[in-house]
């Protein structure tokens, strides 16, 4: 259409645009400088193929917005976003033609574009209605609902309606140039516009649309809607590590300070995380600590750090030597918040803009533990035990292999040519309940004729609890000790029955050069069943709920193998703990070193989990007889949970391996 700006109008539009976009850009540059207060972060570069794919799937594809239970609002958001992209193109076109006095961008007058624009703009209006209704009627518990959100939605609605008004007026006033496509909404509404009002409507629509867009550009970087811009880099630079791997501290013995005490100790990407947060609260909605009344609120951690940056960043920019800000435990994120985290990754899983919550929490724990030696006393005891006894409980080193006595399970010293190492882990080595799981796996492996051996007293804690308690140094010592032992026996393939052992050996040992083929026992058992290397006999008919261990599921994406194993057991009906299953599985409360820390605040996480299992059973019309998992800590926590609730007889926690072993005739 021919724009309503001739002469002075062109200049006014150019000036307004320069002021509005200039103000927005000014703010962005400032935020960029604040972000750069963070320290360097080498892992954010390279692997461009994957990063571009991320942009396509997560940014353009809006993949993470569509997760359970947010799918409807996720679709609404996706339409606002996709509509916005097309509207941005339309707005750019209007600006260009308005300032240039009638020149158009290539393709802008095509029918395809006109239909896309009007179609998506209509969907944007519908989506805005959903977004408004959601805020007013059923706001998610942890979303920050503020006037700003309403205002921004209203602004978007205004600029869309103005666009339609401009089109209708434009069509009626005959502003559509020869050869240009007639915009469909303009074509539909245009004939209804009285000729006397046509040009006025066209001009008001034009100026309102551009005026509100220009205002938006200036205002946006001062609101949480900044995420429209920052999500792009935040997704691009997201960590290439496997989700289960924490950041490696290279040359740790040469460092002078450890962990994140001040804003300067966070990386620039961690600052960008804060500037990207949309305050949607999905992380907090899914946090097991917050849900059970702990002081931790993952969204608050992200926002506290962002607010600190916005508050004190300028002072840090002025004085490059200033550390300015208080140490981690003086922040609004107090130590109790940090220690409540189970590193279950429910927050990371849900975050639509790929914020890395766990890394920040662990970095601050690293400061507390390594720099200040201020870990909670129970955590300190567990670390001392790992140091001295190679296990967090402080059980005698010499008894590590005792569980296998009389089972015909060889050690590597006895059978150096074994194909697999079964890395038993501390829980299955020392905890009586979990020793039965180790025995079950041994029985399965023997029945399948797998060549395997254990390390017995030569095995030591993989280091996972220490690392997640913030003691990177102890993790490195433990990991190195195991890597040396593996090397001595030329170990290449490892089976772990504990997801924490599995995760740290598979995903974290490569940071120290230890690369092995690592499988979780349930993956291997699933293969053995499908390859018919073990035959499972008949047994009782029973309903078994499957509880997803965080370090198997969310951290490593192993959801299907354990379920397939359960399904292969004759008579077992698998039950899902809906809606808290698969990627929304609820932590048992033991991860992140929490297994060894006291849980004083609120309800115990494992008790909540037991309630969820019962509720899911009731909802489907029958409670399960057993709840099966694939993790020793889940087993201990669930055992405690059913015991405390007095239902140990009605709901028996087991490991899937035990169910399998029971069906193998010895």
């Amino acid at each position: 259409m021919t724009p309503p700006t001739i002469g002075i109008g062109q200049a006014v539009l150019a000036l307004l645009a320069a002021i509005g976009f200039g103000a927005g850009l000014w703010r962005l540059v400032h935020l960029f400088r604040l972000m750069r207060i963070g320290r360097a972060d080498p892992e954010r570069w390279g692997r461009f193929g994957r990063r571009i794919l991320d942009e396509l799937v997560i940014y353009l594809g809006q993949r993470k917005l569509l997760k359970r239970p947010y799918s409807i609002r996720g679709i609404a958001h996706a339409f606002i976003f996709w509509g916005f992209l097309v509207i941005v193109a339309a707005t750019t076109e209007l600006l260009v033609s308005g300032i240039s006095g009638g020149r158009h961008l290539p393709g802008a007058t095509s029918g395809v574009f006109a239909w896309m624009l009007d179609g998506l703009s209509l969907l944007v209006l519908v989506a805005i209605a959903i977004a408004w209704a959601r805020r007013l009627l059923f706001a998610p518990p942890h979303m920050h609902v503020a006037g700003q959100g309403y205002a921004i939605l209203a602004l978007i609605a205004v600029l869309v309606v103005a666009l339609f008004a401009m089109e209708a007026g434009g069509v009626a006033a005959g502003r559509v140039e020869a050869g240009a496509a007639v915009p469909p909404i303009g074509a539909a509404v245009g004939p209804l516009v009285p000729a006397s009002l046509a040009f006025a409507l066209f001009a008001v629509g034009f100026w309102t649309h551009l005026g509100s867009t220009i205002f938006f550009a200036a205002w946006l970087p001062r609101t949480k809607h900044l995420h429209i811009v920052t999500t792009l880099p935040n997704v691009f630079f997201r960590s290439p590590r496997p989700r289960g791997a924490l950041r490696f501290v290279d040359k740790i013995e040469e460092q002078e300070t450890f962990g994140a005490a001040t804003l300067r100790d966070l990386t620039w990407k961690q600052q960008l995380d804060g500037l990207t947060c949309t305050e949607c609260g999905r992380c907090s909605d899914n946090c097991p600590a917050l849900a059970t009344g702990k002081p931790l609120d993952p969204q608050k951690i992200v926002l506290d750090l962002r607010d600190l940056l916005l508050r004190e960043g300028d002072a840090l920019l002025r004085d490059p030597k200033a550390t300015g800000t208080a140490p981690a435990h003086q922040l609004a994120t107090k130590p109790d918040e940090l220690w409540a985290c189970t590193t279950c990754a429910a927050c990371v899983e849900q975050c639509p803009v790929t914020i890395e919550h766990i890394d920040k929490i662990v970095d601050m724990r690293r400061y507390l533990t390594m720099q200040e030696a201020a870990a909670p006393p129970e955590a300190q005891r567990a670390m001392t035990n790992i140091e001295r006894a190679g296990n967090p409980w402080g059980e005698a080193v010499g008894t590590r292999g005792d569980w296998a006595a009389g089972l015909g399970v060889p050690t590597f010293a006895e059978k150096p040519d074994a194909e697999y190492l079964y890395f038993v882990g501390c829980a299955a080595s020392f905890d009586r309940r979990n020793q039965r799981v180790a025995k079950a796996l041994a029985k399965i492996l023997q029945a399948a004729g797998i060549s395997f051996a254990i390390l017995a007293t030569e095995e030591t804690c993989n280091g996972d609890p220490a690392r997640r308690m913030g003691n990177e140094y102890l993790w490195q010592l433990q990991a190195q000790q195991n890597i040396d032992t593996f090397g001595r026996y030329k170990v290449r393939k490892i089976i772990a029955s504990c997801p924490h052992c599995f995760n740290t050996i598979a995903n974290e040992y490569p940071q120290l050069g230890g690369r092995y083929e690592v499988v979780h026992a349930l993956q291997l058992v699933q293969d053995l069943i499908s390859e018919k290397k073990i035959a499972l006999g008949a047994g009782a008919t029973e309903t078994v709920a499957y509880h997803d261990p965080c370090y198997l599921g969310r951290h490593n994406g192993i959801y299907d193998d354990p379920r397939a194993v359960l399904d292969a057991i004759d008579g077992v009906t698998r039950m899902e703990i809906e809606p808290h299953h698969r990627e929304r599985g609820f932590c048992c409360g033991a991860g992140g070193g929490r297994m060894w820390m006291e849980e004083k605040a609120g309800q115990r996480v494992n008790h909540r989990r037991v309630e969820q299992i019962l509720a899911a059973g009731d909802a489907r019309g029958g409670r399960p007889a057993k709840v099966a998992s694939g993790c020793p800590f889940c087993l201990i926590m669930l055992d405690e949970g059913v015991g405390a609730k007095g239902i140990a007889e009605e709901l028996k926690p087991v490991d899937v391996l035990e169910l399998v072993a029971a069906r193998i005739s010895a």
Partner: protein, 252 residues
Amino acid sequence: MRFLICIKQVPDSTTRVKVAPDGTSIVSDGVTWSISPYDEYAIELALEHKDTAPDTVVSVVTVGGPRTKDALRQALAMGCDDATFVSGEGLGPLGIANALASAVAELKPDLVLCGKQASDDDQGFVGPALAEALGWPHLSQVTRISSSSPGLEYWKETEGGHEVWTAAGPVVLTVQKSAKDPRYPSLPGIMKAKKKEIPERPATGLDDPVKIEIVKLEPPPARGAGMIFKDGDTKAFAQQLATLLRDEAKVL
């Protein structure tokens, strides 16, 4: 003010001790060595005092073979200011007390702390013997040191309560387990401790007048298998249990 803590390196409580073929010593291969737990509590008491009175100097000393230097490094990592290694192997408790006394004479502490006993031989001898050798008073079962004016107050645990003592001059305290667990070292503490010079002095010219000879070591008898009653008549079980407790265990 200078505190001197006398520590002993012992097999860690998580180590399963095995008797050596000679029948009078233990197998030292595969043993994790650490500071005797009561000595760790003594270090913690001193460091806690240093936290409130930063001008306190906390020194640590041990008598033993080269391996025992690790215990000193551990103490330095926890936050002790300096360490002295007195080299001397095969000394009896009185010899060790004498060796420590000469270290005290050199280091001139205002207060000496020992664990109330070592967790390996549980003799509880060296602390009081050191007090005797120095001619200092000795207070046992100490769980807390608090500041008062002038000087310090020592809290001695008693049955169901505590006594608070003061001392006009230097004193030897033997320390009981207290509420606060010994601290976990910070990583900068560990790194600093690795590099710290530990002066060494021989434990020479010292008599060990009372030799204690170990005649024989043997592990405690293995625990017998338990018995589980299940799935049956509770009344009959109770009767059976009573019989067993009377005739077999002889506790009734």
